[in-house]
């Protein structure tokens, strides 16, 4: 497998084969981030493609001051959040399922299927709460960074995180 630095350098020089290899190495990480931030698999595919098109556009400005994966990650967050800010086509999320069966508490092994339930519960969070939760609890950003990225006050970020955790606990306890 080609070394990351070599791939980046070749892609910076305009080598699309190298760029495709970068896509293959990082697509899963970027798609996971897009999926959790948008809560929708169709949107996640679109944003993943946007991220790599944007990456091609911006690649020349990568200086190697940080790891390429970290730099790409930040770029992906910006692409997703900018998309949400500049378009209004996202439909409002519907309320969580009202089917009584879906509200039943998970039975059996307490960790069995929990990741799937958690992913679904994250997707069902309101947009603002979901973005802060994904960035803070899953991706490890601080409230200051999130406030800058999302364009909200730091206190709002904390409030959204509190709200998201509460909603998630409630959803997972059903």
């Amino acid at each position: 497998m080609p070394q990351p630095d070599d791939l980046v350098a070749r892609a910076q020089a305009g080598d699309q084969t190298a760029f495709r290899e970068l896509y293959r190495q990082h697509a899963g990480r970027v798609y996971a981030l897009c999926l959790r931030l948008t809560g929708d698999d169709g949107d996640a595919e679109d944003r993943t493609q946007d991220v790599f098109v944007r990456l091609w556009d911006k690649l020349r400005s990568f200086r190697g001051d940080s790891a390429f994966s970290s730099w790409l990650h930040r770029l992906a967050v910006n692409v997703v959040l900018n998309e949400r800010r500049t378009t209004s086509r996202r439909e409002r999320r519907v309320m969580p399922a009202e089917d009584p069966a879906a509200l039943e508490k998970h039975r059996g092994n307490p960790t069995e299927g929990l990741s799937i339930d958690l992913e679904r519960a994250i997707a069902e969070l309101p947009d603002g709460a979901r973005e802060v939760f994904v960035l803070y609890d899953i991706e490890g950003y601080g409230h200051g960074e999130i406030a800058q990225l999302v364009g909200i006050a730091e206190g709002t970020s904390k409030a959204q995180l509190f709200r998201a955790r509460r909603l998630l606990r409630e959803k997972l306890e059903r």
């Binding site: 760029f19 697509a27 996971a32 020349r60 400005s61 958690l118 006050a153 409030a159």
Partner: protein, 334 residues
């Protein structure tokens, strides 16, 4: 599920998820049409330098101004700050009193976490304006507060106790002796007087008495006889309110569980069992909450029960007009 279990579950989430289909063809097509290209962004980058500098400058100005004063806007008439008439807008500093007459109103920006509308004939003081504590003292009158922040950052003192924001919107009114009313329209508010406190969720209200502080909260549409019985319970002396309790229990519906949860903690011990049994018949306790624990007023039992009651209440309120919710279980009716 507690905070720790949630965090453990989050930590187990996969960092990478393969897209359900190969996205490369779509990306490659866009690279070929000049959507990318690698170099176009260079020419645009210089715009960010003055923009970033302006943003930092604005942030520093805001942070500096916010330290010890809040913005106030006159909504009607000319409210007073201290002895000065407020024309259009001004600043309320720590220690300042804001007063409206019968024809004036004002809007206060509560730091960066919310706002308070001050209705006519109201007098209040800014007591603390810090990032981790925002505190007003409401001497008399009515305010409408809206706060978007973590719980326990915004407090309003009244002559009869303190309203503690738990992330919410509410209307609080009081006279100069402390008799008042708290009406919550979003989230939840705690009202505390000494060791006695009440929790008021959205769609509920609560009477406040000078002598006893927070009354028992009740839902907006609670029947009048039930509300009268609750107020009688609040006002009766300990030991002579058994009759009021029995009326409350007889009239209570599952939707009134938030009231019974409070009554349970305030009745004389001999009556506690009767209250618990009625509450459990209306809204069965969640797993882990025992009769013994509730009668002993163990916080684990009470908190567990409250979580269930609050969740059901929240679902009823949020889904009102959309789905009919069973007030005993919180599930949607078929």
């Amino acid at each position: 599920m507690n905070e720790r279990e949630l965090q453990d579950a989050v930590n187990r989430l996969p960092k990478s998820i393969d897209p359900p289909r190969d996205l490369w063809p779509g990306i490659e097509a866009r690279l070929g049409t000049g959507a990318g290209g690698g170099f176009a962004s260079w020419r645009r980058r210089w715009y960010w330098v003055p923009l970033a500098a302006a943003a930092v400058f604005a942030f520093l100005l805001i942070a500096r101004a916010e330290r010890s004063a809040w913005d106030v806007t006159a909504l009607a008439g000319r409210p007073l700050i201290g002895t000065r008439r407020l024309a259009a807008s001004g600043r309320l500093r720590v220690g300042d009193w804001l007063q409206t007459d019968d024809s004036s109103r004002a809007l206060i920006a509560v730091g960066r976490i919310g706002q308070v509308e001050v209705r006519p004939d109201t007098r209040l003081q800014l007591v603390v304006a810090k990032a981790n504590e925002h505190r007003l003292s409401l001497a008399r009158g009515t305010i409408d507060a809206k706060v978007d922040a973590v719980p326990r950052l915004f407090f309003v003192e009244t002559p009869a106790g303190t309203a503690i924001d738990l992330g919410c919107a509410y209307t609080l009114e009081t006279d100069s002796l402390g008799k008042g009313l708290l009406r919550v329209t979003a989230g939840e508010v705690e009202f505390q007087t000494g060791s006695r406190s009440s929790r008021v969720p959205l769609g509920a209200l609560m009477q406040i008495q000078p002598a006893t502080g927070p009354g028992v909260p009740y839902v907006e549409e609670a029947p009048a006889p039930f509300v009268r019985a609750l107020i009688a319970f609040d006002l009766e002396r300990r030991g002579t309110r058994a009759r009021a309790v029995r009326t409350v229990l007889a009239l209570a519906r599952p939707q009134d569980a938030i009231s019974l949860w409070h009554v349970l903690q305030r009745v004389d011990p001999p009556l506690r069992g009767v209250v618990y049994d009625r509450l459990a018949a209306l809204v069965p306790p969640p797993p882990g909450v025992t009769r013994r624990g509730a009668l002993a007023l163990e916080s684990r039992a009470l908190e567990g029960y409250w979580t269930k009651i609050q969740r059901i209440h929240f679902r009823i309120m949020v889904l009102r007009g959309v789905r009919e919710i069973d007030p005993r279980t919180g599930l949607a009716k078929p």
